[in-house]
Symmetry: D2
Subunit: 333 residues, 4 copies
C-alpha cells in the first residue's frame, strides 16, 4: 500500500556519513519529502550528497531558522546526537535521530523534560524491518498463544576496525542496544532482571581496548518471560539476524535472507547463496520503512512510534548489561 501525499515537505540532513548516506537519499526519493539541506562539518561529504539530490549545503543555524523545514534527520556522530536533537526540537522541527541518543545515560535522562513529548523518532531499524514487523503481527494476533520467551540472534559479519571501539560505547551500548529495544518491543512487559556474560574471542585488540566481542544476555520480565540475546562481532557467515518467539501454542520465527534463491546440488551437498552480508543490504527495507514513518510524522499524520522513552530504556538496559559483566551478577530493577 503506497503512501500518497498532497504536498511535499522540506527536510534537512545533519551528518552525511555512513548513516546519512542511507537516510538522506531515502528522504530525497520519498514522495512526501524533499531533501533541501545537507549539513556536515566535512564539506566534501555534504556537497557530494547535496549535489546528487539537488539539495544545498548549509549550516545548522540556517537549517533550523528556515520555516519551510518540517523535519530534521540527525545522522551526525553519536557524541553530537543529543545536541542536534535538542536544537532541532527547540526549533519546532520533527526529528529523526539515529540511535543512540547518547552513550551517557545521565545526559539522556537530563534531556527527558525537553524530549519526552517531542516529535522525536528514534531510528531503531529492527522495529521497521518488514520481517520482524510481520513476526510481531503474528505474535500479537495470538498465532502462538501467550508469549513466553524469545531468542534474538544478532551477529555482525566481521569485527569493526580497532579504531572504532574507543568511541563506540562498547558492545552493549553500540550493538546489543538494538536487541534490547527489540526485546522491549516484543516482550511488551517491564524487564526486571538482566544478566550478561561476555568474552573476547574474535580479536584480542578489542579486549585490549577494554571491550568484549562475544556476549549472551538474559532478560526476565515481570511475569517471568525470558529472553536470550546472542551477539558476536564476527559471524564468519554474513549478518545473522533472527528472532524466535515461543508461546503457549507454538513458535514463530523470522529467518535470514539470502542474496538470491539459487542453490546448487552436487555430491558435496546442497549449497544456498550466502545470507546478506551486512546491515546495508539486510535492513534496506527497514530504512525505507523508517522514512515512510518519518514522513507521516512530518506531515502530522501520526506521532513517532518509537522515541525518547525507548531510547532511554534501551540505553539503561545496555548499561545494566555492562554492569552485569563488570560485577559478574544479574542486575535487577
Amino acid at each position: 500500500m503506497e503512501q500518497t501525499f498532497q504536498n511535499v515537505i522540506d527536510v534537512a540532513l545533519i551528518g552525511a556519513g555512513r548513516m546519512g548516506s542511507i537516510h538522506g537519499p531515502n528522504a530525497a526519493r520519498h514522495p512526501g519529502l524533499k531533501l533541501k539541506y545537507v549539513v556536515d562539518r566535512h564539506g566534501e561529504n555534504a556537497s557530494r550528497l547535496a549535489d546528487a539530490f539537488d539539495a544545498e549545503v548549509a549550516a545548522l543555524e540556517q537549517v533550523l531558522a528556515d520555516p519551510s523545514i518540517g523535519g530534521v534527520l540527525v545522522c551526525s556522530s553519536t557524541d553530537q546526537h543529543l545536541d542536534h536533537v535538542l536544537a532541532a526540537v527547540a526549533a519546532g522541527k520533527a526529528v529523526f535521530c539515529e540511535k543512540p541518543l547518547d552513550l551517557d545515560l545521565e545526559k539522556v535522562r537530563a534531556a527527558g523534560p525537553a524530549l519526552r513529548d517531542a516529535r522525536l523518532m528514534l531510528a531503531f531499524n529492527r522495529r521497521f524491518d518488514p520481517h520482524f514487523v510481520a513476526l510481531k503481527a503474528r505474535v500479537d494476533a495470538g498465532a502462538v498463544g501467550r508469549l513466553e520467551s524469545l531468542h534474538l540472534t544478532n551477529h555482525d559479519p566481521a569485527a569493526p576496525p580497532p579504531g572504532f571501539i574507543p568511541t563506540s560505547g562498547g558492545l552493549f551500548k553500540d550493538f546489543t542496544i538494538h536487541d534490547l529495544d527489540l526485546a522491549r518491543w516484543l516482550l511488551d512487559e517491564p524487564i526486571v532482571e538482566v544478566f550478561a556474560t561476555a568474552s573476547c574471542l574474535v580479536d584480542p585488540e578489542i579486549g585490549r581496548q577494554g571491550d568484549v566481542d562475544t556476549a549472551r544476555t538474559l532478560l526476565k520480565t515481570a511475569s517471568g518471560r525470558l529472553c536470550v540475546i546472542s551477539n558476536t562481532r564476527r559471524s564468519g557467515y554474513g549478518y545473522d539476524q533472527r528472532i524466535e518467539a515461543f508461546g503457549s501454542g507454538g513458535m514463530v520465527a523470522a529467518g535470514n535472507l539470502a542474496g538470491d534463491t539459487v542453490h546448487v546440488a552436487t555430491e558435496a551437498g546442497l549449497t544456498g547463496t550466502p545470507i546478506l552480508p551486512g546491515f546495508l543490504q539486510r535492513y534496506a527495507g527497514a530504512y525505507r520503512a523508517e522514512m515512510d514513518h518519518f514522513a507521516e510524522v512530518v506531515h502530522g499524520r501520526c506521532e513517532p512510534a518509537v522515541g525518547y522513552e525507548a531510547g532511554l530504556q534501551a540505553l539503561a538496559l545496555a548499561e545494566a548489561c555492562d554492569l552485569s559483566v563488570r560485577t559478574g551478577r544479574p542486575v535487577r530493577f
Copy 2:
C-alpha cells in the same frame, strides 16, 4: 554496484496501462533517464502518470519529432506494439518494447529488415530477474558441469478474466512465450523439436473461447538437451516461478520468494508465508534491472541484450506449441 551517469537523457512512454505503470515510474526514477512525455489514447491514464512524475502528456508525433528524446518505451496494447516500435526506430530512437512484438509471426518476420539491427530491447523480464541471472551465471561458470536438461515452472496465481482471452493470443503466445525465451537463453543451442500437450482444467469458459489453461511443453535441442515447461493459469498458491537446471555435475535451482521470512510452528506443522502473489511483486527487481539495461542502451554504452531476434524466435516456438497441440504431434525444425 550502482550505475552512475554524467547526464540525464529524456525518454517517452507510449501506453500508460498495466505495464506502462511499471516501466514509466521506473524510467522517471532512474538516475540516467528523465520521463518527459506520456502518450496514451486514454487521456486520463496519461495525465495521471504524467502528473505524478512531472512529465507532459503528448501525441506520438510530437514525441518522435523531439530530438531530445533518446528512448521510447512501448507499453501500448499488443496489437499496436509493432507499429509503435517501427515508428520509433524509424525516428532514430532507442526502443524498449514490452513482449510480444506482435502475435502474428508473419508480421514479425516482415519487420525483420527494419528491426534486426535496430536498437530495440524486448522486455523479456525473466532474463533480468536477479535470481535467474544468478542461476545462469552458475550454469555458465560450470557449477554443474555441462548442461543437460531444464525444468521451468511458470504457474499464474489465478485465471485471467474471460474477456482477456480473445485478444491474448492464447496460452502459448501470451504466457509460455516467457518460458520459451528463457529456455532459449539457458539452453544456448538451437531447439529442434517442440511437443506440447494441453488441457482446459481451470475454467471451462477458457475452453469455450478456444484456449487452454494447463499445459506441458517439451523442447529438445540439437545436441539432445531436454527442457520441460510447466504452465497453468491458476496455481492456487501464488505465482510459482522456478527453474531447475541439470548438468553432468549436479543441479542448480532458483526457488520461489515468500513475502517475508516468517514461519510459524504449531501442532499443525511449520507454515511459511505464502510465495509472492503475482508478477508485480515477483519481478519488481527484474523490471528495475530492465530499466538499468535500457538506460545503458539509451546512453550508448551497450547494445540491447535481447531484441528482435529473441522476440521472433520465441514467437515461432509459441506458434509451434499451438501447432503441436492442434495436430497432436511434435513439431520439428
Copy 3:
C-alpha cells in the same frame, strides 16, 4: 502403529542377489514371518544369507512342496521372475515379486489368466514409501482440491555399468516403469496419451548399446490431467526422488531426504548434507513397509494392494514410451 501377529508363518526367498539381500533380511526380521528357505543358483549367495538368518538353503521344488511355506519372495533375475511367480502361485503360495514381472509384454499378457486373481504382490517400492504415501493421503483428502497435474523426478545418482544395459530392458522398462506405476497410482484415471523424448547425454556407451540415459515423458489422462516424468541415469548429486502434485487449490510436494539435518554456514553459503545416495538408503522404509504389507497378505488379512494388473499396465506404458521414442510421435490408447 506396530503390527502384532499371533503366529509366525514361514516364507522362502528365491534369489539372494541385490534385491534378495534387502527383502530376505526384512522377512527374517519381521515379527509375523520366518525366513525358512533361501534358493539361489549361486550356492554361496544362498548360504551366506541363510547362515545369517538361521534359514536353510533349498531347491525350488522343495520349497514349493513344503506346506508350511505360506509365502514366496521372488527376487531372482528379471528373466526368471515370471516362471518363478507362476510356479509359486500354482503351488498355492502368496507371492511377493520384484518388479518387473517380465520385460516382454506379450508374455505378461499371456500370464493373465493365471495371475490376475492370484495372491501376487508386485513390489513397486514407491507405492510403499512413507513420504509418497503421505503425499497421496493429502491428495486424497483434498488438501489441494481436484488433482490436475503431476511432476515426478526420478534421477539415478550414477550411470549403471555398461554390462547392465543389454539385459535391463532399457531405460523405460527398467527405470521409468517405477514412475509410470506411480503416475497411474496418483492420477487415478486411465492414461490416454504417452509422449517420450530421450537422449544419450550421460555415457556414449549406453547409446552404442541402443539405449538412452536421459528422458522426459508426458502422460495425459482421460479427463485431461497431465504428468511429466523426468529421468536421468546420472544426477551427480545423489538419488533425486521427488513428487509435485498440483490441484485446483494448491500444490503438495514430497522432497528429498538428506543423510542428516546438519548444515554449515560460511562465507561460501549455507551447505546441507547431500541427499541420500541411492535406493538402498532412500527406500529402506519403503522396503520394510512392503514386507509389512506382504505379511498381512501371507496372514490372509488383506489382498495385495498392487499386483498383476499394475505390473501389466506399467509395462504397457513403458512399451508405449519406447514406441514413442522410436516413432517420434505420441502413442494414444
Copy 4:
C-alpha cells in the same frame, strides 16, 4: 557400516518400564547380543517383554550370578539406578545405565571409587544421535574454525503429568541434564560459570510443587566459550531438538526432523509436516546407536565412550543450575 559379531553374548534388562521397553527390544534385536533375562518388580511388565523376545523373567540375584551374562541394562526407576549399577559392576558385568546415575550428587560422588574405572556406559542419548554426531564431526574437523559458542534448544512437546514432578529431581536434573552433558561434550573445556534463570509459565501446578517449567541457562568455559541452553516443558509444536555451534569461521547447525518430507502450498502459505512429537521418535536412531556401542563394550572391543565421570559432572552442573536459580546468582567453579 554394519557391525559384525562372531558370537552372541547374553544380556539382562533390569526395569521393563518406559526406557526398558526401548532398550530391551533393541538389545534383543541386536546381532551381537541376546536378551536372556528381564527383571522387574512388576511381574507383568517383565513377562510381557520377556515373552515377546524369548527371554526369561528372573530375579536380580539370579541374573548377576549367571556367568553367561556379559552385560546388564539398568532401566529401573531413578532412585534404584545406583544400587543396580553398583551390584552389576560388583558382579563383573558391563553395565548400561539410563541417565541419571542418581539425583543426589553426594551419593554419586561416594560411588566414585567403585565406578570411575568400571565398564559403565551412561546412556546420554544425545551423544549417540546421528545428527548431533555429524555436527560434532564437523566441528572437530574444523568446518567452522575454532568453536566459540553454542545454542542448545531442548523443548519438550507437552508438560509431564503433575505426579511426575515430585520424583523427577526438577527441571534441571531431569531434563536440562541432557543439555549440560551435550554442552560438556561439544565445548570440550572445563565449564567455569553457570547462570540459570527460570519461570513457571506452562502449568501453575508445576510451580506449586516447587519446580519450574521454562528456563534459560548460560555456561562459560575456561577460555571464554559461551553456551545457551533453552528449555521448556511444553513447546506446543513438537519435540524441538536443535544445536547451533558458532566458530571463528561460521556456524554449523543440526535442525529438527519432520515426520515426512511432504509440504502443502496453498494461499495460506507453505506448510510442512510437524516435527517429530517426542523422544521415542526423535531419538530412535540414537537408542539403536547406544546399543551398538554397548555391544562393542560387552564384546570387549572398546571402553564406554560416556560413563561415570560424565554422569557426575552433568549432575554437578544441574545442581549448580538449581543453586543459581535459588540464589539468583551465577555459580562459579
